[in-house]
């Protein structure tokens, strides 16, 4: 088997004096769907943001597809990457945010075509065709020229997923993608993610949707207070948790 898509070794992250990640070790294989669960403040989202260098790690090693995130190693020393190289690597990683973060001054279609044309240098027509196709796949074929403000939360999040997919990423990060949605809108977003997982996309999903983790996840990771408490198959971690903290958390969310 080839090397893992993501490899984290003793990853530490501090905000001032607050240590948010206290040594994370994880591996995510290609095509794997990993669900990160845990109480808020446990460091799940921070870890996710470290993967595309939105946050810089303080120590440890973190690599995506065999390359270090944000750094270059030469002569046994780490050198921080130039901004341009950081951006180039980010372009290969899709990210979906809790609050969607669609660009409000652009239509759904423009949101999806922007980065492919400006970052990848795709032609307008090429980007347009692909965006139309992606938006149709998430059930928004009739919303191409609608501005985000006129879309429901669930529709906005599906545009955000299409926007990330338009860059043809090798990895998708989801940061609590359904937490800001009304309950009746969650289903459509989870459906879109389920299809993506089915197509073999490597995904890391920070979520509180235990049902989704059980059904779609290949691995479930339970984090608490900046450390990984428990890792395993969903049936094991969710059905038969070994740690007291996991048990306490699951009792609370179920």
């Amino acid at each position: 088997m080839s090397e893992p898509m993501i490899k984290a070794e003793a990853v530490h992250k501090r905000f001032g004096r607050l240590e948010v990640l206290k040594g994370i070790d994880l591996e995510v294989e290609r095509g794997e769907v990993m669900c990160l669960l845990g109480p808020s403040g446990s460091g799940k989202s921070t870890f996710l943001r470290c993967i595309n260098h939105l946050e810089k790690i303080n120590s440890g090693r973190l690599s995506v597809d065999g390359e270090l995130v944000g750094y270059r190693e030469s002569g046994g020393k780490l050198h921080e990457l130039h901004e341009r190289d950081v951006a180039r690597k980010r372009a290969e990683i899709g990210m979906v945010f809790q609050h969607f973060n669609l660009f409000p001054h652009m239509t759904a279609l423009e949101n999806v075509t922007l980065a492919p044309t400006r970052v990848l240098g795709a032609s307008r027509r090429e980007a347009r065709d692909r965006a139309t196709d992606l938006l149709a796949r998430v059930g928004l074929a009739d919303k191409l020229s609608t501005y985000p403000v006129a879309l429901s939360g669930g529709q906005q999040q599906r545009v955000a997923i299409a926007r990330a997919l338009a860059m043809q990423p090798k990895l998708m990060l989801f940061d609590e993608p359904t937490s800001a949605l009304d309950p009746e809108l969650v289903g459509d977003v989870l459906d879109a993610m389920r299809r993506l997982a089915h197509d073999g996309m490597t995904m890391i999903v920070v979520t509180h949707e235990v049902g989704f983790a059980r059904e779609v996840g290949d691995t479930v990771v339970f984090m608490d207070a900046g450390v990984v408490v428990e890792t395993g198959k969903p049936a094991d971690v969710l059905g038969n948790p070994q740690h007291e903290r996991t048990r306490a958390f699951l009792t609370n969310v179920l």
């Binding site: 951006a87 980010r90 001054h105 980065a115 501005y147 985000p148 403000v149």
Partner: protein, 276 residues
């Protein structure tokens, strides 16, 4: 009642000499002054906006030297009177007889005589434009701060560089916040151009002064100037409406308001909109 009697007093008072106002309203010296005032306003605002954007971006720089330089500039130009700055630029030849452009402490590449370079126009533009830059910097900075951090993060996560994020995502959204005070600044600028009359630059006020210093028809000529200033600000109001509408796209669920609806106060609160 009071308003009616004030209007009556203004119309019937012979000292206003309304017929003189009529004679000079389209006098070629006056219309030339109007054109110069427009030219000064446009050029000074261009300098001001451009400087403002640069200074605002510098203020956000993580480099303390860069952000400090911007802070010092704003501190200095906001802290001294515009009139003093205009006089200072006009008299700069007294400080520096020549202006050398080149490598610092090295050979000069361009050698200029201050008295020929700093014409009244240049002094006026330096005075008005550099001062405006300081005010615009704060307006632009407020606009940049108004854009949610998530917008830059989303753009960065798509692989855009810092400048692309600023140009394509942050600035267009900041415009919505930047434009109303900039309209205000433009109207102020239009009137502040009258300050350069002190360095004998023939904009509208100085043209008027030149006429009444000979004819002694001070009041009617000041009315002529006021009518033109009012006419020009009215045009700016209309322009601002359309620019605001252009950059408000995507921020309101309601149909875009027509100008008439807004004047009649029929539009629902436009700005805002729950965008995450």
């Amino acid at each position: 009642m009071i308003a009616a009697s004030i209007i009556r007093a203004i119309v019937t008072n012979k000292n206003f000499q309304w017929h003189v106002v009529g004679t000079y309203l389209f006098d070629s010296r006056i219309t030339h002054g109007v054109l110069v005032t427009i030219e000064l306003t446009v050029l000074s605002m261009l300098i001001g906006v451009l400087l403002g954007v640069i200074l605002a971006i510098m203020r956000r720089s993580p480099n303390p030297v860069v952000s400090g330089a911007s802070w010092l500039y704003i501190y200095f130009f906001r802290g001294t009177p515009l009139l003093v700055q205009i006089l200072f630029w006009y008299s700069i030849a007294a400080l520096f007889k020549t202006i050398d452009l080149g490598i610092p402490f090295g050979p000069a590449l361009v050698h200029l005589n201050s008295n020929t370079v700093i014409t009244p126009l240049v002094a006026a533009l330096l005075g008005l434009g550099l001062n405006e830059g300081a005010y615009m910097a704060e307006i632009v900075r407020a606009g940049l701060l108004s854009v949610d951090e998530g917008q830059s993060e989303a753009a960065a996560s798509l692989g855009m560089g810092r400048l692309q994020v600023l140009r394509l995502i942050v600035l267009p959204q900041a415009m919505r916040v930047i434009i109303p005070p900039t309209g205000n600044e433009t109207i102020s600028m239009l009137k502040n151009t009258s300050l350069v009359s002190v360095i004998a630059y023939t904009e509208l006020l100085y043209s008027v002064q030149q006429i009444y210093s000979v004819s002694f028809q001070t009041i009617p000529l000041l009315i002529v100037a006021s009518i033109w200033y009012l006419a020009m600000t009215s045009v700016l109001y209309v322009g601002q409406f359309f620019i605001e509408r252009r950059f408000g796209r995507g921020f309101s669920r309601a149909e875009q308001m027509t100008m008439r609806a807004r004047w009649l106060g029929m539009g629902r609160g436009g700005a805002g909109g729950g965008v995450g």
